[in-house]
């Protein structure tokens, strides 16, 4: 394996390949930072440009866009609270809260470092464990995917604030995702014979509306009181305390990201959500989650970058795309005359190991680009908000249009902007809506496929070992908060009684 990795490095380090890896990560960084354009849209837009390149160079560049976009998405999440991808929602919450306290540089720096460490770790896992991990990922079938998505939805309830309101917001997201056509039978559903609704409602207009448009409209109410954020150099860099809080968060996030990434279809958004929630359990300051927890940012960013690399495992070893981005990577392989599948690693070892080595190189490029630039990007917040607000609105709508090349997406973004604004006014959390919208398709499809496999019997969720473990986790996620709430109420009820007793005595 070491020999093959060395051959991979000798391919990746060729000047021409180095140049295209750099171009790939740079473009990825830009498309990730543009609201609306995610890695898959960026890769699809730039796929035709790779036709004149050698297959290995083309794949290295496209992969660079894929993981570069994860770094780029952090910029808009932290600076303007508009996540470019669903996997950036948790970063938008805590990263932006840090930015408002003048710590945007630290949020961006820990994102870059967390992404780098987790990215390098998962690339090593790709190199060492690709075949066995891929076969483990394949043990996940419809029942396990459904329970994993359900676990994600229920876990959203514990994101902070009121669990009922969080679950209510998640339900709104799930209900929005019903619009379009039934994913299994193709029957129009809740489209009311409107061609726009038949296509369904994409994540992009929802996230741009609910986060971007709504946030700016809310800020415009009292724009005179919004002062430019002071970004002092000493607040830009990580302190020893920050690093102490984040080092294990990055490792935990990286492992969760890799584990979720290797499961085809699970995606970086579930990875970042699970990593964030897990980190809240481990954190010494869980009350800071949602208000600017640096360890929350570190774990979510480590997880989403690790997942985007981990998704390469089923793609390379089995020819199964783990995400929309790896599906485009797979399409690129086919367009360049390479047949993906289980034989890929043996028949195209130079390409596969070159790609793995290029991920090491690309992550180094991204760290070098991002770490010194964090204060520069953060300094953008010194621009008075009165000038930033219309620019954010305008560029968000350009991003919405560019994602689908359809004006309907722009109109939908505005409609969801109104919904998001109402959610702010009525104190309803917005991240659960967006996360549930992303998980909805996986949840419905896998639930129905599971019941199809079992001819309608729900016992399928108990009979399979991994599914049974996940079911236990689901039950515990429901039961434990109820038990702790009951215990808390009893304790609160007992205290006045005890106080009253003492007083009487």
């Amino acid at each position: 394996m070491l020999d093959q990795l060395l051959i991979g490095f000798s391919t990746a380090l060729l000047p021409n390949n180095l140049l295209f890896i750099f171009i790939g990560v740079l473009i990825g960084q830009v498309v990730g930072a543009l609201p609306g354009l995610g890695p898959s849209a960026g890769m699809a837009l730039l796929l035709p440009l790779t036709f004149g390149l050698e297959p290995v160079t083309a794949i290295m560049m496209l992969a660079g866009i894929m993981y570069g976009a994860q770094y780029g998405g952090t910029l808009t999440s932290v600076l303007i609270k508009v996540p470019g991808e669903a996997s950036g929602v948790m970063t938008a919450v805590d990263g932006n809260a840090m930015a408002r306290e003048g710590r945007a540089g630290a949020a961006l720096a820990i994102s870059a470092i967390g992404s780098f460490i987790a990215g390098i770790g998962s690339v090593m896992a790709v190199a060492v464990l690709a075949p066995p991990l891929a076969s483990f990922g394949l043990r996940f079938n419809a029942p396990e995917y459904f329970l994993l998505a359900l676990l994600g939805i229920l876990a959203i309830g514990s994101l902070g604030g009121s669990p009922i309101k969080s679950l209510g917001a998640a339900l709104i997201g799930l209900m929005i995702a019903l619009i379009g056509v039934d994913p299994l039978t193709g029957t129009p559903r809740l489209s009311f014979d409107q061609p726009i609704l038949l296509k369904g409602i994409d994540f992009i207009p929802v996230v741009i509306g609910v986060f971007g448009v709504a946030e700016v409209l809310h800020s415009l109410e009292r724009i005179e009181s919004v002062k430019p954020i002071k970004t002092r150099l000493r607040d830009m860099w990580l302190t020893m305390e920050d690093w102490r809080k984040c080092r294990f968060a990055i490792i935990r996030g990286g492992f969760i990201g890799l584990f979720v990434g290797i499961m085809p279809g699970a995606g970086a958004s579930i990875a970042s959500l699970l990593a964030y929630l897990t980190e809240r359990k481990f954190s010494t300051t869980p009350e800071m989650f949602g208000k600017g927890a640096i360890d929350g940012v570190a774990s979510a960013e480590a997880a989403n970058n690790s997942a985007s690399h981990g998704a390469a495992i089923p793609m390379l070893s089995l020819g199964i795309p783990g995400s929309a981005s790896t599906a485009i990577l797979l399409a690129a392989l086919i367009l360049h005359g390479i047949r993906p599948g289980p034989q890929l690693m043996s028949q195209e070892s130079v390409l596969v190991w070159g790609l793995i080595a290029s991920m090491f190189v690309g992550n180094v490029f991204l760290l070098i680009m991002n770490l010194p630039m964090a204060p520069v990007f953060a300094a953008l917040l010194r621009i008075p908000y009165v000038y930033l607000a219309p620019a954010i609105l305008g560029i968000s709508l350009v991003g919405a249009y560019a994602a689908t090349l359809d004006m309907a997406t722009v109109w939908m973004s505005l409609a969801f902007g109104v919904l998001g604004y109402a959610m702010i006014k009525f104190d309803v959390p917005r991240p659960p809506l967006v996360l549930a919208l992303v998980l909805a398709s996986l949840m419905e499809t896998s639930l129905r496929q599971a019941l199809l496999l079992s001819f309608g019997s729900p016992m399928i969720f108990v009979e399979r070992p991994i599914s049974a473990i996940l079911l236990c986790a689901v039950v515990l996620t429901i039961v434990l908060p109820i038990m702790s709430a009951v215990r808390r109420r009893r304790r609160v009820g007992a205290k006045p009684a005890a106080t009253g007793g003492n007083g009487a005595g």
């Binding site: 830009v30 543009l34 354009l37 960026g42 837009l45 730039l46 009121s162 009922i164 309101k165 679950l167 209510g168 339900l171 709104i172 799930l174 209900m175 019903l178 039934d182 299994l184 039978t185 029957t187 559903r189 809740l190 009311f192 448009v213 700016v216 409209l217 809310h218 415009l220 109410e221 009292r222 724009i223 009165v386 000038y387 607000a389 219309p390 620019a391 609105l393 305008g394 560029i395 709508l397 350009v398 249009y401 560019a402 090349l405 004006m407 505005l414 902007g417 109104v418 604004y421 006014k425 009525f426 104190d427 309803v428 419905e444 639930l447 129905r448 019941l451 199809l452 001819f455 309608g456």
Partner: protein
């Protein structure tokens, strides 16, 4: 509990009812397998439970919905900004994305936010130029061009 605080719970309940009513023509079960209405019905039921739970919790004081409305000036500013966004969306197919974006920026900065003219014009030109360079020149995204060209 003020009546307005019931809006989130009522919204979820109305949405659950709309899902129930909007999927009546679809099958719940297709033989032994779940049909196109299966998941919407599950969500509709869950929505009804969550909506009622939220209402009950609010009535008993276990949940609070802190409604925060803007003052008159803030409301006018938000309304005018949203109207400018709608005008932007209407004007894009007619005038093109980049020119309309510049007009939107100018309208927002000069009319809605009352900024000085020179920085406002500079900001509009910079943002429109940035969008042109990044989206049209670099990424070759076919944004609508002036007068549908």
């Amino acid at each position: 509990m003020r009546p307005i605080e019931a809006v989130p719970a009522l919204f979820i309940l109305i949405l659950a009812a709309a899902i129930y009513a909007g999927t009546t023509g679809l099958r719940l079960w297709d033989g032994p397998t779940p049909g196109a209405r299966f998941f919407p019905m599950a969500l509709s039921g869950a929505g009804a439970i969550i909506g009622v739970l939220l209402l009950l919790a609010q009535r008993r004081g276990l949940e609070t919905v802190e409604v925060e409305f803007p003052d008159a000036l803030g409301a006018v500013r938000v309304g005018a900004s949203f109207a400018a966004l709608v005008a932007l969306a209407v004007g894009i197919p007619l005038i093109g994305f980049v020119p309309m974006l510049a007009v939107f920026m100018l309208a927002m900065l000069l009319v809605v936010l009352r900024c000085p003219p020179v920085p406002s014009v500079s900001s509009a030109v910079i943002v429109a130029g940035l969008v042109h360079v990044v989206f049209i020149r670099w990424l070759a995204v076919p944004l609508p061009m002036p007068f549908g060209i």
